[in-house]
């Protein structure tokens, strides 16, 4: 690499302060022509922030951006696009009610739009990149993997010199990720630059030419891929030693409880994935991991189990008790705890205090009330106890929930749900978006709940998490459970195929 060559873009001393955190502090690095640059760091390290600044979505507080050595002003994505920058957001920015074509031409075509011609152009472009894509399909009918292709085509339409991808593999199966890497390499080989944001070391090693490591909003390393290795990167990224929690061997069950039994559970959904014939059991003290690309019915399964969603056929039995016809409120009373994937939307009222959120799921439980009046002193006492027990960084029970960090909110949620989950704890991607310290914390809590003989259903898209915690592993695809396996029966490749819907061992009996 000719380091004398003027870089395509240079970021110089960029700082960005958010109201609650310093997101970027004095960041400088170059982006060269034809290279794949990986931006590596934990969740919350400031990777997305710096890229959103480069793309004009955020305004920096200090610093400057150079293109070909000349200072440029990027105040909006429009400016960025003009300067040849394209960015694919982590959570895609597609209009789900519009067609593929409408999404792709948004912002790049001017004036009169002839949709027929436009969709032909899009079709040709898709063929060129060997993307199997119907230009007239509505986005909301497409799988996430296909949606990502739409995003990629959108950037091709903008004829970008620099393509920024924010955690692009998060929603893909291992095989799809592989294909994406191939595309990225080809794209760079054609003289374009790519910035690949990720927190996964393996991906970095396989795709990047150069690696920028970020931690706590600062750059902690700028290395060439061939001159480094995974352990060095890991050290730079985390900056401290972490001891993963130890998972004890499964204990023999003395209980007369038989845990959770789910039989022939199906549902019919209009907007989302329907469940079809789901069967599994979870013994007390057992963790059943559910692997799968998100959007394959995991959330629907959780919501049917807790009683928030109607099912068409099947049975849910918990400790010999048939829950099938019970309402959500009655199921809470039966001891089901649920940690949803989106705590902002589904679990907390962020503007309320920790104590109030502690109370949220118990408003029909006599424990913290008298004659319809809330017993605040008892409620606060319990909340303070939880804050202590779960090591939550919060000023007290009356702290506003939304003012806590994501990791502490998640600890609070676990505190509430573990308390409620006398029999069954359902967790949907409980570590999404957390930094490693908080992830370790959550894992410890889950293992502790396992020791307390709760049935645990753990849904995750992180395969490492699934393998580390699960006693058995189920794989979900399009609303079905493709199979349930012992961890030792599976490896990354095989589970990847299962997650993509390839039923590799049709003859194998589905463990019930």
């Amino acid at each position: 690499m000719a380091s004398l060559e003027t870089p395509l873009f240079s970021l110089k001393n960029i700082s960005k302060y958010f109201t609650r955190v310093v997101a970027n502090n004095n960041i400088s690095f170059d982006i060269r022509r034809g290279e794949v640059l990986a931006l590596l760091g934990e969740n919350g390290a400031g990777k997305s922030t710096i890229m959103k600044i480069l793309y004009g979505l955020y305004q920096m507080d200090e610093g400057e951006i150079l293109k070909d050595g000349n200072p440029i002003q990027i105040d909006s994505p429009k400016d960025a696009i003009k300067n040849g920058i394209a960015m694919i957001q982590q959570h895609f920015s597609l209009v789900s009610a519009h067609t593929v074509t409408e999404n792709i031409i948004l912002g790049s075509k001017r004036g009169r739009i002839d949709l027929r011609t436009a969709s032909r152009e899009v079709g040709e472009m898709a063929d060129k990149y060997h993307f199997d894509l119907d230009p007239n399909a509505l986005i909301r009918d497409l799988d996430v993997g296909v949606q990502q292709k739409v995003e990629i085509l959108k950037t091709m339409f903008q004829e970008a010199q620099l393509l920024i991808m924010d955690e692009p593999t998060a929603v893909l199966t291992p095989q799809e990720s592989e294909n994406l890497m191939i595309f990225v390499r080809q794209f760079a080989a054609a003289g374009h630059s790519v910035i690949f944001i990720t927190h996964k070391l393996k991906e970095v090693m396989s795709v990047a030419d150069r690696i920028i490591v970020m931690r706590d909003g600062e750059v902690h390393g700028d290395l060439l891929c061939q001159e480094t290795n995974e352990s060095e990167l890991s050290r730079l990224m985390i900056g401290r030693d972490l001891i993963a929690p130890h998972k004890p061997e499964a204990v023999k069950q003395m209980d007369d409880k038989n845990g959770l039994v789910v039989r022939h559970l199906s549902s019919k959904e209009k907007e989302t994935v329907s469940l079809s014939d789901i069967n599994f059991t979870i013994k007390p003290g057992e963790i059943l991991g559910v692997a799968g690309v998100s959007g394959n019915g995991q959330e629907e399964l959780c919501e049917v189990l807790i009683g928030a969603r109607a099912h068409t056929t099947g049975q849910v039995i918990l400790n010999y008790e048939d829950l099938t016809d019970l309402s959500l409120r009655e199921r809470i009373a039966k001891g089901i705890g649920y940690v949803p994937v989106n705590r902002y939307r589904d679990a907390f009222v962020m503007s309320m205090s920790l104590a109030e959120n502690m109370f949220l799921k118990s408003t029909y439980d006599p424990v913290w009330q008298r004659h319809g009046f809330i017993n605040f002193s008892q409620l606060n006492r319990q909340t303070d106890a939880s804050i202590l027990e779960y090591n939550i960084k919060a000023p007290g029970a009356d702290a506003v929930t939304g003012s806590l960090s994501g990791g502490n909110q998640q600890k609070m949620l676990l505190a509430r749900e573990v308390r409620l989950a006398k029999s069954l704890l359902i967790l949907n991607q409980p570590t999404r978006g957390l930094d490693l310290g908080a992830i370790n914390n959550v894992h410890t809590t889950i293992l502790k709940a396992r020791e307390e003989n709760k049935c645990i259903l753990l849904i995750s898209t992180e395969l490492s998490e699934i393998f580390m915690l699960s006693d058995r592993i189920a794989v979900m695809y399009k609303g079905r459970i493709v199979g349930i396996y012992e961890p030792k029966e599976l490896n990354t490749e095989r589970i990847g195929l299962l997650m993509a819907g390839f039923d590799d061992h049709q003859d194998e009996e589905v463990a019930l």
């Binding site: 960005k16 958010f18 994505p77 960015m87 209009v95 409408e102 948004l106």
Partner: protein, 305 residues
């Protein structure tokens, strides 16, 4: 009689066309123009004042548009750029509009002994077309505003569904973040659609004063702005839906006027007919299913950075 009624319905539909179609445009971009009642009122007032002072309806309509845009601009600044609640802001402006019109009516005209009158817009029969039996009477024997509506509705329809501007507007209402990432200045675009709604709403208001009654009172709009607002919603945020809905309400209003003119006093509830458009709104609101409401309607677009 029926032709007369239908013809009346088209006439009474005219302001609602302007109001509901522009409301559709604004709402597709993501903003509910809840100041529409105040915009109508100020349009009615501006139309009256301009016509009265300069003796020409053209100036009246011009002033009506300016007044409508002024209210819309305040509304847009507060809701789009200051990101305050749309319903609440609209209510404040609607109250303010009443006070403003009453106050400046007094400033300009004092306390007149006899009600001030202007010449309402005259009916302009279109040559040849107005001679066609039935259709001529129904469609081509109207005042200028109705003809403007005929022209402008297809143009807006084309703009919304067949141009990049329309695509940008629809995307801003569905997923402003996606529009932003695609290089569209969402808030500026939203502001422009609101100003457009202000201009059209101004004309709509002027229809009641300049185009119809030839006078102005502060209660002359009487919820018509809200009806236009409701039509946008009942028409499923489609231009065609709004046009159909508008005609239904125009008919209801024509019917109300007719029934009032024949219904005498006594215990016969004439008031039922006055209330008919409002009752119709409630009934239709309750019956409507499967809305394709713009996903981000009413939610300010807040950029973090």
């Amino acid at each position: 009689m029926i032709i007369n009624l239908l013809s009346r319905a088209i006439t009474m539909s005219t302001p609602l066309f302007f109001g509901s179609v522009s409301e559709v445009v604004a709402e597709r971009s993501g903003v509910m123009v809840t100041a529409i009642e105040g915009i109508f009122l100020l349009g009615a007032w501006g139309g009256f004042v301009g016509t009265y002072l300069w003796g020409n309806a053209i100036f009246g309509l011009l002033l009506a548009m300016i007044c409508g845009i002024a209210v819309a601009a305040i509304y847009g600044v507060v809701t789009i750029f200051m990101k305050q609640h749309q319903v609440v802001t609209g209510t404040a402006l609607n109250i303010l509009a009443i006070g403003f019109c009453a106050f400046f009516q007094r400033v300009l005209f004092g306390i007149p002994q006899i009600p001030l009158q202007i010449q309402p817009l005259s009916v302009i029969p279109i040559p040849i077309l107005s001679e066609i039996p039935v259709l001529g009477e129904l469609f081509f024997n109207k005042n200028i505003l109705t003809y403007v509506a005929y022209v402008i509705i297809p143009i807006i329809h084309y703009m919304l569904y067949h141009t990049s501007l329309g695509l940008a507007i629809r995307s801003s209402g569905e997923n402003p973040q996606a529009a932003d990432v695609a290089g569209i200045n969402v808030n500026r675009l939203r502001f422009l659609t609101v100003l457009f709604a202000g201009m059209m709403g101004g004309i709509a208001g002027a229809f009641y004063s300049v185009g119809f009654l030839g006078m102005f009172t502060t209660n002359m709009i009487g919820g018509r702005g809200w009806i236009a607002f409701a039509i946008c919603f009942l028409g499923n945020w489609q231009i065609t839906g709004a046009v159909i809905g508008t005609f239904v309400f125009g008919l209801a209003e024509a019917l109300a006027i007719y029934m009032q003119s024949i219904g005498g006093g006594g215990f016969f509830p004439n008031e039922l007919f006055i209330a008919f458009p409002y009752i119709l709104t409630i009934v239709l609101t309750v019956m409507r299913r499967n809305f394709s409401v713009p996903a981000n309607l009413g939610i300010p677009y807040i950029k973090e950075g």
